[in-house]
């Protein structure tokens, strides 16, 4: 399968199965569209007639170059990966390598767009005890097989509401990692309200990554990210995040924003983040119920698509000026990216990745927490609802009719399967898919 598009004055041709990407001139671009549909003579004549500036025999030369690439497996390569789709999961069956610890089902902000219902995940407010956190670490080690790198994400609600327990869990994990032959990588996701020097120092020592929630423009951020008294949080958190990032000294961080129907022009928010001195950025479409006034609409999608294109241009321009920045979804490592097994195996939710509630229940991922039908089991007894695990294990890009022929199948994942399941009930699901494909082109 070929996917070709024009962006920023470039003609890009992606050969999906081989992973090859080519930049071509206009004549070649058009010829690729025709290649294989008509015979050589006819294709060469069409292109030579369409591009009279080509020299004598040049169209034939292009045709032969395309044939050479095809023979090398870099163009029109056949996708033969479908039989491998379940292989990685079968090979690593039962192995868990990442946990999202919901250390606090509570939040000190009252963001109206929060998919976690202000951190409570449709349930009661709760904080995870150290004993539960410790058992979660043991569960992860016990179920990780020979896997060395283990990931633990402190999530909520707002994890800093349970900071002492976070530190205790980290200390416990560090105390056993050598003996168990593991390497823990911790991530902290925070709204910033309780960030102080002590949080910064500890996180910079122990957290492999920190994810800092900021939506960009002050009025955009404060529209949703308010405290319980109705005050916006922008003014409080921005200076804290600036100190946090500066003190990180180059370690991983992301400023992570959400865009909604209220700001489909999210590039303006990216620019504000840059003006504030942040360079590692991520902006995500809101997750909300169909019909929600914050949900992206059909009218928003062209605007969002334009943002992705302009974002790519801005990144290129800033890089040329010696002021580069990173956008999470554009950080595609073309040479050292994931192997084909990883690309076709799904996001790992419910199999190698699970979420743990404050009281120790296991769910396929954070997006399912609170939905009892998806409860997998708990950290003491392990996965007991094997039917749900099986269902998630069988989810891959070739398992879904609408995904298996999509050009973006080896680049985008429409998200955790949680998002995917939700999208089935959302009429604009196709629009969201298109949006993520636009992002892929960028």
């Amino acid at each position: 399968m070929i996917h070709q598009y024009k962006m920023g004055g470039r003609n890009i041709v992606m050969d999906i199965a081989s992973g090859s990407i080519h930049e071509v001139d206009d004549a070649t671009y058009d010829m690729i569209e025709l290649y294989g549909k008509e015979d050589r003579e006819s294709v060469v004549k069409t292109i030579a007639d369409r591009y009279p500036d080509l020299e004598e025999g040049e169209a034939a030369e292009i045709y032969d170059e395309l044939s050479e690439l095809a023979a090398e497996g870099k163009l029109f390569a056949e996708d033969t990966f479908a039989p491998m789709a379940g292989e990685l999961k079968a090979r690593t069956s039962g192995v868990v390598k990442a946990l999202c610890l919901h250390v606090a089902h509570s939040c000190n902000l009252n963001c109206s767009y929060c998919f976690a219902s202000q951190g409570r995940f449709h349930g009661e407010r709760a904080l995870m005890s150290f004993e539960t956190g410790k058992r979660a670490i043991d569960f992860l080690v016990e179920n990780s097989g020979s896997r060395r790198n283990l990931e633990v994400d402190f999530f909520g609600g707002e994890p800093l509401l349970n900071w002492e327990v976070v530190k205790q869990i980290v200390a416990y994990a560090r105390s056993i990692e050598k003996e168990k032959g593991k390497n823990f990588r911790f991530t902290l996701t925070t709204n910033g309200m309780l960030v102080d020097d002590e949080v910064i120092a500890f996180s910079n020592r122990e957290m492999h990554n920190v994810v800092l929630s900021l939506d960009g423009r002050r009025e955009v951020h404060d529209r949703f990210r308010k405290d319980y008294a109705g005050n916006g949080s922008w003014e409080t958190i921005v200076p804290k995040f600036q100190r946090f990032v500066e003190a990180r000294g180059g370690k991983n961080y992301y400023i992570r924003g959400t865009f909604t129907h209220a700001n489909p022009d999210f590039l303006e928010d990216i620019k504000v983040m840059l003006d504030l001195g942040f360079t590692e950025l991520s902006m995500e479409p809101v997750v909300c119920a169909p019909g929600d006034p914050m949900a992206l609409t059909e009218e928003d999608f062209p605007i969002v698509a334009e943002q992705y294109e302009k974002l790519a241009e801005l990144m290129e321009a800033r890089a040329k000026e010696g002021r580069p920045f990173t956008f999470y979804h554009y950080m595609i490592d073309l040479e050292d990216g994931p192997c084909i097994y990883k690309r076709i195996s799904g996001c790992g939710s419910g199999t190698e990745y699970m979420a743990v509630t404050p009281w120790g229940d296991l769910f396929p991922c954070h997006q399912f927490v609170g939905e009892e039908a998806f409860k997998l089991g708990d950290i003491w007894n392990g996965v007991t609802n094997t039917g749900v695990r099986e269902d998630f294990a069988n989810c891959n890009v070739y398992a879904r009719e609408e995904c298996k022929d999509c050009w973006a199948r080896l680049y985008n994942r429409l998200g955790t399967r949680g998002v995917r399941v939700r999208l089935q009930a959302i009429p604009q699901a196709h629009g969201v898919c298109d949006l993520l494909k636009d992002r892929g082109e960028g």
């Binding site: 930049e23 690593t92 991530t187 979804h329 554009y330 073309l334 990216g337 097994y341 954070h366």
Partner: protein, 50 residues
């Protein structure tokens, strides 16, 4: 391949990766910045980064 018409950008050969890939040491897709709409191609291969 680089000709005056075609510039091939260096990428990992996915068909080749089928032969030696699949160790599973790489980061779980969601344990990072997104938690919403994870991409897959922006994950780094642990083997290649060593």
């Amino acid at each position: 391949m680089k000709t005056k018409h075609i510039k091939t950008i260096k990428t990992r050969d996915l068909c080749e990766s089928a032969k030696k890939g699949g160790c599973g040491e790489c980061q779980t897709s969601c344990q990072s910045a997104c938690k919403t709409s994870c991409g897959i191609a922006n994950q780094r291969c642990e083997k290649s980064s060593k």
